[in-house]
Symmetry: C2
Subunit: 624 residues, 2 copies
């Protein structure tokens, strides 16, 4: 292609999220491993709050970002040090990898300048999966990194009484590298980490760790979109996406994926059948095991961390979908169903599953066993087809585990609230506690345009019940392609759902951030309230639409009560009152009475300054 090396302008958002600093915390094992986190400094002598950080080097002002060079290979040395991999001459990129069957109508996508030419794979007879190491009792740097990363806030939380309903999850007070190892060894958690994606920062997906979220991106086949998709990837991880799925279809899939992986600080997942289908011109019947296998190798060498494989869509299950309102809604599922029907044969994914597993273990790619028969409507939820497939996924999980390959299980879909728990229970039973990874579920079908919310409701619940990772849904679900703003809304909605699940499970440190934000709210530290929120920019912007920007940010009242009966002052009076009946607290009261006076003086001053609109408008936002 003529323009294969034409320069491409790729801009991404960099710099710290407002109000926070990038910090690197040394693993307490003293191994020298440094774990990236985000620290939010607060006013008024409040201790700063550390939060989980998925944004990679892009939020580090010290980091040099060059999209054309890709990120530094954080894990490279760890991988090499294990001495069980070799590099080799990678598979040649063919025109059909980029969908160039006929004349190129796409305009083309430039090749990534530093595309890996000599990928790594396990030496003959070796298995490089984190599960394999874990089962042999080896604690890898990846496991150490995960332990430190997950321990966030555990020290502060140590003094707190743990509180929650974990539905059988076993979340320890402190996460040790050994705990991570044991969870990976028994298949209850995975650390997606293809040895050809050393740029990614290790993270765990499992019921006894923080609930994670995935964001989907995917190009359409014009050059400019490579820039757009790389930007979306960086943007999604900035707001909290723990993994990214590249669901690109059409042309230039191969090159687009290379740009994304080389610049991604989080694991990347794909659905290889999409690209395989492109290679046969979109005719499902013409798919073969050989073409699919070749596509797996192609993507394995690029560094894809997990593959969605719809091996559970078996020939006998397909008729079970005939009576459904919405039939088969999974693209991967429908491709396989079509293939099975066309050939009247069992799925080649099911037939060749152990061979697929052989490939997975040579690169440490994790399975994301796809739910090709998931329900696409409330009416179809929890039906025979769905659960028949689920139990087959359980059977495949055990087969993958026999070769020490990491597995997670994909789940629905559209499910009314009262049927959500059954999904979690059956999954745990059928799949031996392998991590569950669900899309929503949406709890009603009637709100297109708001399906980030209908699905956020289901996601928070199934996350509470034990789902390890939640696949986001954007406001455009069922309607169109999400833009940058939709991606952010989807990510923030799923972050709050995942956090709500952590709180309800009784995660020892989850509530630290809620408490800090609520204390800031109650003490009218507006900037702290913004900075502690999941989306500081939106919080401040909404606030400033009503209140004079600077005066109000230190005002000792808000639209909740107004200065005439500020709840802070009342609680102060309450404390005095309580104290009169309790000499023991005298001293604390004496101290805080002063503050109260000061606060009130400031308050009325500010009030004169901003006028009484605050107070008279108050009603709008509280139900009393």
């Amino acid at each position: 292609m003529a323009d294969i090396n034409s320069p491409v302008e790729i801009g991404v958002t960099t710099g710290p999220i407002r109000g926070s600093r990038k910090v690197y915390v040394g693993a307490r094992t003293g191994s020298g491993i440094r774990v990236a986190m985000r620290e939010i400094d607060l006013e008024g002598g409040e201790p700063s709050v550390r939060v989980y950080d998925t944004s990679g080097p892009y939020t580090d002002p010290e980091a040099h970002i060059d999209i054309h060079a890709g990120l530094a290979p954080l894990r490279r040395d760890w991988i090499m040090a294990r001495g069980d991999v070799e590099d080799y001459a990678g598979r040649e990129v063919k025109p059909e990898d980029n969908g160039q069957l006929g004349p190129d109508r796409s305009g083309g996508v430039p090749q990534f300048p530093n595309a890996v030419k000599r990928p790594l794979r396990a030496k003959a007879g070796m298995n490089v999966s984190q599960m394999h190491y874990a089962r042999r009792g080896i604690i890898t740097p990846e496991m150490e990194y995960v332990a430190e990363r997950e321990n966030l806030g555990r020290e502060i939380a140590a003094d707190l009484i743990r509180d929650g309903e974990s539905w059988g999850a076993e979340i320890p007070d402190v996460i040790t590298p050994e705990f991570v190892r044991s969870e990976v060894a028994r298949g209850r958690a995975i650390i997606p980490s293809n040895i050809n994606h050393p740029e990614s920062e290790p993270m765990a997906i499992g019921r006894n760790f923080l609930v994670k979220i995935n964001a989907n991106i995917g190009n359409s086949a014009v050059a400019s979109d490579v820039a757009q998709e790389v930007d979306k990837m960086v943007w999604a991880t900035r707001w909290g996406a723990d993994t990214i799925m590249d669901l690109s279809t059409g042309r230039n899939i191969h090159d687009t994926r290379e740009w994304i992986i080389r610049n991604s600080p989080v694991p990347i997942g794909t659905v290889p059948i999409y690209q395989a289908l492109e290679k046969v011109g979109g005719i499902a019947e013409e798919l073969t095991w050989e073409i699919f296998r070749d596509t797996l190798i192609e993507q394995a060498e690029q560094g894809v961390d997990y593959f969605t494989i719809h091996a559970g869509v078996r020939l006998p299950y397909i008729p079970m979908t005939a009576k459904r309102v919405t039939g088969i809604v999974s693209r991967g599922g429908s491709i396989m169903a079509k293939w099975c029907l066309a050939h009247h044969k069992e799925s080649f994914l099911y037939e060749h599953f152990d061979e697929i597993t052989e490939i997975m273990k040579a690169y440490d790619i994790a399975y994301s066993l796809g739910d090709g028969l998931r329900p696409g409507s409330i009416r179809d939820a929890n039906d025979e087809a769905q659960f028949a497939e689920l139990y087959t996924l359980g059977e495949l999980t055990k087969r993958a585990w026999e070769q020490d390959v990491q597995v997670m299980i994909e789940g629905p879909g559209h499910v009314p609230m009262h049927k959500i728990k059954q999904n979690m229970e059956k999954q745990l039973e059928a799949c031996g506690e392998a991590p569950f990874y669900t899309l929503g579920p949406l709890v009603t079908d009637i709100a297109p345009g708001y399906d980030h919310i209908t699905s956020g409701i289901g996601a928070a619940q199934i996350g509470w019940y034990g789902t390890a990772m939640l696949c986001y849904v954007t406001p455009k679900e069922h309607l169109g392609l999400p833009d940058r703003d939709d991606v952010k809304v989807g990510v923030v909605t799923y972050k709050l759902a995942a956090h709500a699940a952590d709180l309800a499970k009784g995660h020892p440190a989850a509530q630290v951030r809620d408490d800090a934000l609520s204390k800031a709210r109650f003490e009218f530290r507006w900037r702290d309230q913004f900075n502690l929120s999941l989306d500081p920019e939106t919080a401040e912007q909404y606030h400033d639409q009503t209140l004079p920007a600077e005066g109000a940010k230190s005002a000792h009242f808000c639209s909740m009560c107004g200065p005439k009966f500020c709840s802070m002052k009342i609680t102060q009076e309450v404390r005095d009152f309580a104290a009169k009946q309790n000499a023991a607290t005298e001293t604390f009261i004496a101290a805080s009475e002063e503050e109260a006076e000061k606060g009130m003086a400031e308050m009325s001053a500010k009030f004169r300054e901003v006028g009484n609109q605050l107070y008279v408008g108050a009603g709008d936002r509280e139900h009393d």
Copy 2:
């Protein structure tokens, strides 16, 4: 005031919601009562779908709307026919009713032209509450109206197997007027219906009826805002608000409220303590029973349908809030706490509760017993103060019931998911199954700017557990005053949460709309999909951002699968396959094979027309 009669421009949104018609259904009792509903006509010979309609005459093209005249008094004749009311010279409007203490700085709000001068009240010794009639075995037209309104879709649903977990709710297959009467008689449902608000269309709030939602509005004290608040009220009911709370504070409260009530087709609630506080210049200590009582009469005569009364904030409970992270966050609660502390006396609301009830029964105003000590943060959820108040609300419920006055109970607030159910269980136990009315609850504190979602998650759950009405939260919660767009987002979010709750409870007709929309989605009837959604305008707008407007609306594929492996076609093939093993279905198959051919022909034509962007973009919106 000079400008008291100056004209005011008030514009509201009128006309049908796109894709639907206003219909009036005669009660099957043959009483001649006509119940307003909305009918959505579908394409392809599909039966039209009837939905619950809160929008009043504003969506009826036949109706003459004149904001300066107010709505027609639908219930007037029913009220008069009972022969137990009398009109009388109403209380004179005083300057302080509009907050005109000193010189008027507000610019003033014009009086409503047809302000009621001779309000109605019960004749001496009479009780005009719906509960009183119900307990005497009388089925009122209001009860009949409610029965017809709630029965929506029950006929279609009759053939469906009921499915759900109702947590002890007793939802019948068909709602009869007698059922409504019995629910009101036992206090398990209320029909807020002040005899001085005959414009409102009867609706029920109760655990065995559809889950309802409330939207808060409230003015700030400048003339233009009267127009804004009336518009917000009409706008909120257009999108589904079942009741409106006018939380206006500051000046011109009285006149603003008159404009809102006279034009409102739904019950109006208020928090009278706000206005009482205005009358004493915002100094809580100076509140007296006499001033409060006078305010109740004032609002009763205007037609307020339910009052939030914080009579459960008792002196001994106040110290229990001293150790909280966020103390007292309810405005009404903090006013009363301040009063109690200042006087070191028991709340005058508690002391005079039976006198308040005397007033309520003379106008049929329902209690909304306020949760003044609700938690304002995750940390404070389900604490001693909250539940101490709840049990007092239970005691007051029984006292109100002794006089046959209708009661609902307000609930939190901020509650993590695992503590939500306990709120419902304790409320049912403490308050004898009186309807629960909750604000959210928010399931985390860390997402200001997205609290319609954090609260929508909690609202869907507590609605499922049995809460009868959900008070909406807008994206501006904690940050500022909601504008028109925020009001719509809040209402739609709560409609979907309430609907998700109805589905999970197993409401017999709830799923009819989900099934119709999903069938439309699967059959690519795009317009039907939009029209059946809670917000057709947003759904279509999002769709059109990606797809060519007209061509795509009849395209037999979507961004879910793309035409190359449209799930409709596959399901068709699946049906053929299934049929081969089942002669019984032969005929049905023969018929639908034709359609399939036709569909596919159309499909590929459309595909050529819109190009392959659909297909290649598909990945963006599905996780496989």
